[in-house]
Amino acid sequence: MTYRIIVGALTGIVVSGALVTGTMAADYKIVDGTIPQSLTGKAGDPVQGKKTAVNRKKGNCLACHVMPIPEEQFHGEVGPDLGESGSNYSAAELRMRLVDPKVLNPDTIMPAFLVPGKTAVLKKFAGKTILSPQDVEDIVAYLTTLKGSYSK
């Protein structure tokens, strides 16, 4: 199965000082509940990934997950602790969970970060995904570094 993700107006390209919104498409292929290939063909940046994960308007992962980020208060407890994500899951498995976790569990509360909402979406978010493909790659790169060495 090949899915096409349109990231409309999410990817801002700065051209001579003016913000131009562009449309970027990314293809991904699901293999046995995983996405083995990078979405961008570019390696993710784990340092940026941590920032994107914490950002409330981007990943906002702390809303639902405990993470080894003691400088941030109040970690949610809806989802599993992500402290050992890198030991428990491969990059391909993590990528699948970020792109569209409903492929694995149709009833999950977890949002699909690369699939736009379909019903009654607020106008300013209509047709848009929560993250860009590179954001997902960055978070995947960050999560693969988490191997449980941190203790809270």
Partner: protein, 260 residues
Amino acid sequence: MKKTSLIKQIVMFAGFGVLVAACAPKEEALKSGYDWAIPETQAMQDDDFSNPAFMWVDIGNDEWSKTDGEAGKSCADCHGADGSSMKGKSNMYPVYNKDDKKLRSIQDEVNNCRTNRMKAKAWKWESDQMLGMAAFIRTQSRDMPINVAVDGDAAPFFEAGKEFYETRRGGLDMACTHCHVDFPGVKIRANVLTNGLGNGFPTYRLKWQKIGSLHRRFRGCNKNIRAQPFKQGSDEYTNLELYLNHRAKGVMNESPSVRN
């Protein structure tokens, strides 16, 4: 021989009874948001003198006996001086209304009285007068169980509310169920998710620093999941209110509550 069979029968009968009891679905009431609130918030609600919502209950109480509109009437003229005639009433709302052919919330009833009987102007949904009057009326049924009808004429509106509750929506593509059925009592960042009941509304919400309606809270929830909110008093939210109150069946009315 005969004796044995009688004992046998009794044992079998008792055993069958236990079996039936074990198989019967549990009719356990859901928990109020109060039960998950921090002690400081609970204490504010426990004492009417420290509960800031009572500033609005007082507004409602004043409005109750105030003459308004071309008919020269007040609420008290028809419904009695002190509001006690409203005891138990609000816990049955929203109710199906034959003239409207849809549900009426408490706020709808207030505005129906104002425009049709008092010949006065309708109040805006989130105005101090409307919030005050709704809180004043609901307070008359405090510590009595929420008890709405969802059968008969109300059934299609109940079903619409249920469908709303269970439909994924918004940019985050989440339904009410994902938080309030699947994860009550679990922390989402610093907040604890609840069963999402309306038994304490209008509520003084610390975040708002003001009393507010259940429909205002719906709007906040919808916007949090990046979904288009509906208007306060819309059919969609009134149907949803009925569904919530069905979920709250047996839970005590705490209006006006204090929540974070």
